[in-house]
Amino acid sequence: MSDKEQSDSSHSLDFSTVIASTVHDMKNSLAMLMQAYEKWSVELPPELNKPAERGMIEYESLRLNGMLVQMLGLYKLGVNQLPMRPNWIEVEDFLQEQLARHDEILQSRDIIGTYEVEEDGLMAFLDTELVGSVVSNVINNSIRYAQSAIHLKAWSEDDQLVIAIGDDGQGYPPSMIEHQSDYVLGINMSTGSTGLGLYFGQRIAELHQRNGVQGRIELRNDSTLGGGEFRIYLP
């Protein structure tokens, strides 16, 4: 390596840090954009209010937001700065909160969002912020493929909390189900955001561990609604 190259590399920016701080600003920007949009759309005369476009704007901005959150999360995981703040929570609250976040989009797309918790008053120990961002991204994704319904379900299995997000769409492509461990390990990223989403979900799940058992995710095609199902297991 020549001297010149060496000096160049020592002066180069750490690109991941640049991206992280830019993403942070983008997130703020997007939040402002959405607020302005909301304010403006309320004042719009009814004849100009096109539900299809509205739905598109709302859905895509939520998706964009989810991707940005995920990107920041991945960056922080990489530099070991992802704060973990687990807490005891009531699972029902958590599921309600996830559906409420997507309330308008579900309505505008005529998709019915439901949830059920197997045991009344089920409590769980998890980081709501982190798991919430994973679940929210999965719901976003399900909304795209669902025909008329998505369903959240939570139960306790072998001392672990399981949260399942299912829809009545066509389900995951068989190859994706078959090679899910590759996605989870971050080996196969060819499907872009979906693959990255699975990787992120797995990393967040793994941060939850107890007595040597690590959290994990799982893809299936046997949702009670007939379509695909995403499961996150948290010990």
């Binding site: 937001n65 704060p83 973990m84 005891w88 409420a100 107890r210």
Partner: protein
């Protein structure tokens, strides 16, 4: 359905669009009473006049205080009741959580952007929770910790959903009541089940308070491997090392905590102190500067930061004399100090001496001497003497400035008032070898311990005689004066006598300059009350 129509809301955000949009959402929930503010400072002012039921506060307000700082100020000034719901709105909650102090957390975080359904869902749950916890919150408002414990027990039994919240309140109450054993076993049990960050920090600090440094270190270290972004754990480790006298390690951990969360005034203050003790004046200056900045317009401001900044700046130049830029910053810092705490004469004395130190080092001995003379005059008029540590600091400054006689006077008073504390006597011996100061104490201590022995054997007249002899040697010795007064009171309770009562009164008047921070202050007040009641 929860009726929100009677609830008072405050929305704080620097963007008017956000305030309008949230206010709009709240109106749809039939809420009529919504105030809004753009700055945290305004929010604090509004809370002085109105007891809000719910505060929706943005975390990052641009310039000025952030949401966490506002919340801490509101708590400190008791402008927020335990019943109030404080929701922190943020673009990125994890960041805000890292900055929050565990003992002062918001009731919930709400990530922007959020819609009406999310807001309502969250508020419904919070209102429901506060209602269920009402007996605890009522007891907290009355500062009745025993009632807090009782209420926690009841609610935990009745409703398992609120057990996690109750555990936290319970731990707080056990700590406040000094039930150490119970607190320890409760926390250990909770942690064995799940590593809850708040419980880890509380247990670590509990061991720290009890002097179990090894246990505390082990806990903090293992907790950091699980929660590397929890600054309170680094503070804990720093305190462990500081307690062992390993100030370099303590400084290192404080710096790690500050890298995660730089806006903590207390942490900057601690770092400044530690760096100064380590002779790392660059870092001390930086930390105290930050602490002074963070304390501006804050109830947490602390004059020590100003004084320490000025003296660290003087030290920072090493053997060189401080230049005009340094002297300017010192002047400004101390000017700020005297403006902010203008009625505190003891602080003025200390500021003068620190300033004199800087001027003397810059070669302006005339100006320095003038300030020292002023400080001496002020000192003579002080109604109360300094705390032991401040007195030691002042003596060291005077010594350095070439006023050994004045330094000895301070040390003599310090020895007289606080000389029964061995650590302080050792520190005094480190600054002077004057036998008049050091030996007087030895003699007095001998008489005092004999007196205490007689008192314990209920030989009150003998005890009084010994204390009187000691008092003759050191009339300003707080312990001796209090012991004499107490012996006199004993005799007075058996048989009233006017001259004994007068003598008792004199003893107490003699030490009326005892600082309220002194550990004997409570005893002094109690004796005063007893005499007044005779």
């Amino acid at each position: 359905m929860i009726d929100y129509s009677k609830k008072r809301f405050l929305v704080v955000d620097d963007f008017s669009e956000f305030r309008t949009s949230v206010t709009g959402m709240l109106r749809l929930m039939a809420i009529k009473d919504v105030d809004s503010a753009a700055r945290g400072e305004d929010a604090i002012a509004m809370c002085r006049n109105t007891a809000y039921d719910v505060i929706l506060h943005d975390y990052n307000l641009g310039a000025g205080k952030n949401g966490q700082q506002v919340l801490e100020e509101l708590h400190h000034a008791k402008l927020i009741s335990p019943h109030c719901i404080f929701v922190m709105c943020t673009a990125e909650s994890s960041q805000a959580m890292v900055m929050s102090a565990l003992e002062c957390e918001p009731d919930a975080y709400l990530t922007k952007p959020f819609n009406r359904a999310s807001l309502q869902q969250r508020l419904d749950k919070l209102v429901e929770r506060k209602l269920a916890l009402k007996p605890i919150l009522d007891a907290l408002t009355r500062h009745d910790q025993k009632a807090v414990l009782a209420a926690c027990g009841q609610i935990m039994e009745d409703n398992k959903r609120f057990v996690p919240q109750c555990q936290r309140y319970k731990a707080g109450a056990l700590k406040a009541l000094g039930k150490h054993a119970e607190l320890e076993s409760m926390l250990a049990e909770l942690i064995a089940d799940r590593p809850m960050p708040w419980a880890l920090v509380l247990l670590g600090n509990h061991w720290l308070d009890r002097g179990e440094l090894d246990k505390a270190e082990e806990l903090f270290t293992s907790a950091i491997s699980q929660f590397p972004m929890l600054p309170a754990l680094f503070d804990g480790l720093a305190a462990v090392h500081a307690a062992r006298g390993a100030t370099d390690k303590a400084q290192d951990y404080l710096e790690q905590g500050l890298r995660i969360s730089p806006h903590s005034l207390q942490r900057q203050h601690e770092l400044g102190k530690m760096a100064k003790a380590n002779g790392d004046y660059d870092k001390a200056v930086r930390a105290f500067r930050q602490a002074v900045d963070l304390g501006r317009n804050s109830q947490f401001r602390n004059p020590e930061n100003h004084l320490q900044l000025a003296s660290s700046l003087t030290e920072q130049t090493g053997d060189a004399s401080p230049g005009s830029k340094v002297l300017l910053e010192i002047r400004q810092t101390l000017g700020d100090l005297s403006k902010t705490w203008k009625d505190d004469q003891a602080l003025a004395v200390r500021a003068h001496l620190v300033h004199a130190g800087a001027l003397a080092k810059s070669g302006d001995q005339t100006a320095a001497d003038k300030l020292i003379a002023e400080a001496s005059t002020k000192m003579a008029d002080l109604p109360t003497f300094f705390s032991a540590n401040t007195a030691l600091e002042i003596a060291a400054q005077l010594q350095k400035l070439g006023h050994a006689d004045k330094a000895e006077d301070i040390l003599a008073t310090c020895a007289e008032m606080y000389g029964d504390d061995k650590k302080i006597m050792d520190a005094i011996a480190g600054q002077t070898s004057n036998p008049a100061i050091l030996n007087a104490c030895v003699q007095v201590q001998g008489l005092n311990s004999k007196g205490i022995r007689s008192y314990q054997q209920k030989q009150f007249p003998q005890a009084l005689e010994l204390f009187r002899q000691a008092r003759e040697l050191q009339p300003r010795n707080i312990s001796i004066a209090l012991n004499t007064a107490q012996s006199l009171l004993r005799l007075l309770l058996i048989e009233p006598a006017t001259e004994l009562q007068t003598e008792c009164q004199e003893c107490l008047t003699q030490v009326s300059n005892i600082p309220s921070t002194d550990h004997r202050y409570a005893r002094y007040e109690k004796l005063c009350a007893t005499v007044a009641g005779l």
